[in-house]
Symmetry: C2
């Protein structure tokens, strides 16, 4: 701890600071800063001396101090319930892609509980850890909305909607209708639905898909049956047990619309376990078209997951660059992907 006379007063472990470089090069810190940031107006001979000192000390500026001073981090944060649904992974992939080529780095923050969500916004709502936010499949709590707007932090929602922020969404009502109509067109009249429970801190897409389901049934003149409409989290085993219940009803459904592919997989497992043939005895349709869906031959309603992330990222970059963002709510298209798990209703 004895400071050396030579000026090497820093403990061996700590990295060099800009002042150390300035001292070694015999210039002021301002000059070092100018060299670091490529400002013009530094005499070449001076610059060379500074660069030499930088190399000698193996110096790298502290990005933290830099951010504090600049009030800018060059980081974008994505907050999303990453693990609770595989579709989030796809969205992240799109975000990475949309951000590539920009000067911004991406940081991903997982939100799998209300507590984590609070922590996330605590970290980011002042804008000192990230310049912009991508909030995916979740909604900021109202107090946070105020804070975000007060601090003027660019924020784009993906797979969620809020009047105060631009958002990338799909028409879930239409999607639910699309899936159900497909089943009805195949002759099914006993069509069940497995949806998500009312959200604690997430965006309630399930409600809209359910609404679409109800509409399609009504349009076909099929009566809505309460015992055919169930709810359960996306965890595969939850969907599996719900499906098992449905399939054990005295008058069991001939088709099940699962509000997400993850849940559809649970349905397929239940059917396999109970020895019920798919699609001969039971048709199953999912929603999302996650990667596995193709491998499993699952019929589903595809939403452009990767594209949603990419568009969200692009939109955020626009906002960050001060470019005007045209639509406050961008609707991505849905597409029915017919594979092997749906077929004509059994006679």
């Amino acid at each position: 701890m004895e400071p050396l006379p030579g000026g090497a007063a820093r403990p061996a472990g700590s990295p060099a600071r800009i002042a150390d470089v300035a001292a070694l090069a015999g210039v002021g810190v301002a000059t070092v800063s100018r060299v670091l940031n490529g400002h013009v107006g530094v005499r070449p001979s001076t610059r060379d001396r500074v660069i030499e000192a930088i190399d000698a000390l193996n110096y790298r500026p502290s990005s933290l101090a830099r951010s504090l001073s600049l009030q800018r981090t060059m980081v974008v944060a994505a907050l999303l319930p990453w693990f609770t649904n595989p579709s989030a992974v796809q969205r992240v992939r799109g975000i990475v892609d949309g951000l590539s080529g920009s000067k911004y780095d991406l940081m991903v923050f997982d939100i799998e509980s209300e507590d984590r969500q609070r922590r996330a916004f605590e970290l980011f709502d002042r804008g000192d850890r990230a310049d912009g936010l991508l909030v995916v499949s979740t909604l900021p709590p109202e107090p946070e909305v105020d804070r975000l707007r007060a601090a003027d932090i660019p924020c784009v929602l993906v797979d969620a909607e809020h009047p105060d922020f631009p958002s990338i969404v799909v028409d879930d009502v239409a999607g639910g209708e699309m899936a159900t109509r497909h089943l009805v067109a195949l002759g099914h009249r006993r069509v069940a639905l497995i949806g998500d429970p009312p959200p604690e801190f997430r965006f309630d897409w399930s409600r809209d898909r359910t609404k679409g389901y109800e509409r399609a049934l009504a349009a076909a003149g099929i009566e809505l049956r309460n015992d055919y409409v169930r709810e359960g989290t996306r965890l595969p085993h939850v969907a599996r047990s719900i499906a098992a219940e449905l399939l054990s009803l005295p008058e069991r459904p001939t088709a099940i619309f699962a509000a997400s592919d993850t849940q559809a997989i649970g349905v397929l497992e239940a059917a396999r376990y109970l020895g019920i043939g798919v699609p001969a005895e039971l048709s199953v349709i999912g929603f999302d078209d996650i990667e596995v869906a193709a491998y499993l031959g699952l019929t589903t309603v595809r939403q452009p997951l990767v594209e949603s992330g990419r568009r969200g990222a692009k939109l955020l970059l626009d906002v960050l660059a001060g470019r005007p963002v045209a639509p406050l709510r961008e609707l991505l298209p849905l597409e029915l992907i017919v594979r092997g798990t749906t077929g004509t209703a059994p006679a």
Copy 2:
């Protein structure tokens, strides 16, 4: 920009600073800081006044400034290549789990190119953006190793190995041997391998799995054939086309060992496309046991992906807490999971 006489000189947009709170409460900034951090020795009446001011201004301290001052961020960063690939996702899940209950937040940083890797370490190797690093499935470049050690930043490797850092690994040689032995035991003698190309910036697990493959073949007295050993990235379609090539050889293999499940899936697709029955005409074994493997009935060598993340996180927490870390290299167990894609060799 005209500063108001009342002291409300800040632009409306910017969040309150600690000085604003101090001014409103009529105390010094030091006192506000003490209240914020729950230090003892603040008169209750004073504390109440401060808290009132905090609420009135909707104040939240800048975590950035706090980090700079404390030289501590309470954030752990995980750096990993392609964090959207299934096995990486599982590892991150383990990390999240291992960190839960600690005071540290996790930030995930994707490395999908050498350039991004450089950026990542630039952001983190000074320790000003994170207190500790989890480096997953990739190796820090040597200059970074020096820097990390110079700055004394705790760093744990998962699915990678370096003499200077504690690491969590599996025995890839043994794993490759395990997979190949399984195939040989089923009577296969024409066993092909699809591995990863030599890594640019990642950890070279594929080489070791290949070594295990070679050993198992040698032990069984089977000659190594160059045309049976291929390489390609993990992207499913790449593995698919490589598998298609293999399966179009005049003397095609009866079994394929894919060095990762992702690649095994590509092999299954190729086989399906070519109308080659699995496992009747072709046995396929993967590596990792990602979630999809179970759905697809893929035989594979399971490595504890989630557990690797969890152990890595725990180890890092130990280092951060100054607790001694016992083993510099922790070996996790491998397990052969036999499902439906491997069977006895065709006669």
